[in-house]
Symmetry: D2
Subunit: 341 residues, 4 copies
């Protein structure tokens, strides 16, 4: 039994992904000249029901930053949530890749941006050279608090982006969890809702190394070409890219990405049902933020459960692809016991 609930980064690699790595372990062209890398565009185009330009990228941080560098000039601003990963957990990577663009961070429930908050922020920007102009919007789906934007919510922000000529980026480190929760078409949550660039996460969902960066729409090829430059220039063009491409293909080829995300989401729901009154945010993906005092946290840890504290009196529990409702039952019982006790 996996007792770790501190991060979906802690999990091992899904066996199907590991098998794909082994299958790619033969001579082929270097960088992204191999047969696996060559299949990415087609595979993602099929999955998203539209032409997609796709690149493998080392990490989610790199995928996010390269996407933003393609959507925002150095003197521009990116509207985002104040709790977004790009703001608080990337050591300023967007500033590095964009050469100093400003993150325009806004509050919002569940780490979600609202069109109203965006419009209010825009109203404060004078159209002169003294002020940084907003040039892009970036959202995370599922959010950093485990909440999910619906296609309608994304589209409402997409409308704002289109109306202002902004690029629209989605950090999808847990995109699979969002789609699994909504049971919608990936297209509905992205390009049909105005998204131009998606960081498509794999590692938290069972991969070893490698995420995908996807571009949609008429500018997808130009942006992907620019992203390929940024990827090389930032030291992200691996010599043996086939080992990344193969993982990504394994993840999407037969729906593994959704199978994995459903398992993780299901495990989270099982935990959520155990402690409905302790939840600080709706549980819509694979993260739970729960009220838990120090004594309770210590009690759980004494039983072998590990997780991160989330400030005073709260904790974050993260489930993952290798779990399901059954496998997290011991923690569910332990949590329930806190309230029953």
């Amino acid at each position: 039994m996996v007792m770790h609930f501190f991060s979906d980064n802690a999990t091992p690699v899904n066996p199907q992904v590991m098998a794909a790595i082994a299958a790619a372990d033969r001579a082929d062209h270097g960088y992204d000249g191999d047969q696996w890398s060559a299949r990415l565009d087609a595979a993602f185009s099929a999955l998203f029901e539209t032409p997609v330009s796709a690149l493998w990228i080392a990490t989610g941080t790199a995928a996010n930053s390269i996407a933003l560098a393609c959507l925002c000039p150095p003197y521009g601003g990116v509207i985002c949530h104040e709790e977004a990963h790009i703001v608080v957990d990337e050591c300023g990577a967007p500033g590095f890749f964009t050469h100093g663009a400003m993150l325009m961070a806004l509050p919002g429930e569940g780490a979600k941006l609202s069109p109203e908050a965006v419009m209010n922020r825009l109203s404060t920007i004078r159209p002169d050279v003294h002020q940084v102009p907003a040039c892009a919007i970036s959202i995370t789906n599922a959010t950093e608090y485990g909440c999910v934007y619906t296609p309608q919510e994304v589209a409402a922000l997409g409308d704002v982006a289109r109306a202002h000529g902004f690029g629209f980026h989605m950090d999808g480190a847990r995109f699979a969890n969002a789609v699994a929760h909504l049971d919608c078409a990936p297209a509905d949550l992205t390009w049909r809702a105005g998204v131009d660039a998606l960081s498509f996460g794999c590692v938290k969902n069972g991969g070893m190394i490698g995420e995908a960066l996807l571009f949609f729409g008429p500018q997808r090829e130009a942006r992907a070409a620019q992203a390929a430059r940024f990827r090389k220039r930032s030291g992200h063009l691996f010599s043996k890219g086939r080992y990344l491409a193969a993982q990504i293909l394994a993840m999407i080829d037969d729906g593994l990405w959704l199978t994995n995300a459903r398992a993780a989401n299901g495990a989270a729901q099982a935990l959520a049902r155990a402690i409905p009154t302790r939840l600080m945010h709706p549980v819509e993906a694979n993260e739970l933020f729960v009220r838990l005092d120090a004594v309770e946290a210590a009690a759980l840890r004494a039983q072998g459960f590990d997780f991160y504290d989330w400030g005073d009196g709260a904790a974050r529990l993260v489930t993952n692809w290798s779990q399901d409702a059954a496998s997290v039952a011991p923690l569910a019982r332990a949590l329930q016991a806190l309230d029953d006790g």
Copy 2:
């Protein structure tokens, strides 16, 4: 039989490295908080007979650039060879990571820098704010032309670096091949010769993903801390870093790095012996640059050998860890036949 001679990036992963990946495939802390990453400093310190601060890094390009960013300010210059990988094959990555430092590219036989060339270049720089001051020296060992600097040659450049207060970086994408050629202590070729930072290559030598960046000397910890910032900030801090650390450890733990490099070097020597008069540079590592006209190149390709043209009338042949003298005998015979014919 492997017929590819176009790149050591084309080879599969060494089985021992693949086994190490499998052994690391269990839950542990994310990023570099795992037990494998924690062992890197000690493993490299033992190998180099001195305290070493080591980080895994995605690629050689990233390792080189992060090293340079730790050794040179944005307004400084890096003295290097005009054929260096950092100059011609990294899409300007050093400019990106250093925020615009200037590469001061010099000529030199076999892609090797000489102390005289460096001193001559330094003599042209006025010590005023109008000119970019040199702040670091970077060399590649083995060089881009498959030549090897001896410890004495490195030390002569190290003396120049120390005398001027410059940082001294070695791009060791093929460091293993250089050490295997010289049969010297790794220490002699690096910190004992004044090297401050080494990009220690693994991928060309049998790894899948991941190189090591090593810092030596009294500033090693401060520089490694800075490099850790740059690594995160450039999107290179993998969520599951243990899969990189495990590869690197597998490579050095039992001398696999030298075993592999000796095989590749031996294969190159076997080819070199077949065509001594066609060689454009001494063959000291795993690369051969050979005079070959278009008809000859076509004849070889018709026999199933693949390699890169190197301008008009020349070709580059690269051997790798999965080969040895025996396995390249068919190409050796085919080459010899060109001259015998």
Copy 3:
């Protein structure tokens, strides 16, 4: 009568400054090799009663950004007020000069930072590589709302800076107005209170072109040398720097800077006395933020007074060195008439 109240940038050049320009109009060495530039360190050292390293700089934006680039690495953060000029009026210049450092913007009454707000923000930053570490504090004195930090208030922030090893920068675009208001020693408001770098404003206070950037303390020479590199590298090393140095010297040599600031402050006080109940912030320098509806604003403009609206129902009035209480009497009367009417 000067009817403009929209900016202290709109005013002509003080005659003594213009005379100094004329006096410098003869052949001398280029850049900062001239006799006027050579006098800056001594002149500011006398004024501040401590050794000062001083550079002329084109603009306040450049002075602020170059100062921050000397105090904060690219992966660091600068704690500042959310209404600070560096945040809202410099088109991201700090991000450009620092290569992407993050502005950590905090609220605070009158555009003033409090030590409590700073400490609260610091408490949210985890000491790991994922988060941007705070590395500097920047305040504006007088603030963007015309309020003045006392020496005690500056020192309280200086204590926080020193305790954390942060650099401490003061944007003194209206430093003269602050000193004139407090009637204190310039030293008390700066280095004695922990300030490392001061953007010493001249242009708003009667200069034509050129501000001064001052460094205090034991690192002043190293930082000034670095700033000189940044100044050249950013295109700010004028060919004929003597025309800037002469202006700055004229401003400080016989107390002109305080004479001018007292005039501007006096004019502001005269206006403040006319409309005490309309003031949105204490009037401590040469700016007034006043509640004024659209009808009232139109009425004033119809009488020939010009000023900027400040959002709905408010206006900003700026006085300058060329005015005094008498010269602004017409506006004072017109303002008073609004309330009497």
Copy 4:
């Protein structure tokens, strides 16, 4: 008599320029919102017989760098001469403003680029992401060695630029001297020859502070808008820009720029005639590079003439707007005496 021949930066300001500054010394809008700044486009459009978008810029270094940042992406390269000011005298400013673009420096007689040299360099660049693609060409006219490109020579490079889709920049710190030498239309030397952006120098030619950056052609407005962002972001948007605009207008309004350049060129010719056999480059502008041994140099300095040594056995003499053939007669005689002696 002015005895300085070390730099045209050493000269005082032309009286007509000084008068223009005085005339601008009254209240107007700040930044570039004033009436003088508003006239720049029209004035330069008339001078160049085509629509021009013009900005005042602090220095030639800034004008060059901002131009290049508008013509070349961060991952691109700028083809230029290895002795160009942007390469050797700007402390890496182009790398700063372009965020790391590479200067591709080529040799060439008299600091002039030839189309052949450019084409040869281009032939070495592979069209893959590993190599920096050339994106712009920059030349200096008159060159750093006082030589002048003819309209035909510029057009030949312009053809290369257009054929490859490159931007084409001219550093015209001494553009006036080039036009005066050729007695051609400014248009013939610039946009009619394919130039997209011109740094139009004023300071060396009698100005105090401020150069102009001009954009030609169909993209001129978009590029000027981008340049305006870069200008603000780099701290170059002066609060009182009218004092720069007025100088530039004074320079071009009645042909003062050519009058001044003709005087400087004439003085240079007078010196050149005195020592035809010592000249290292054709004298086509206001600079002479002359063979002069240490004893001769000392002898001249003993007579009160000042100039820079130019390596061993050579010196650089620079004439300026305040001189003419008569005023440099003493130096001409002294030079002649060296050979007669």
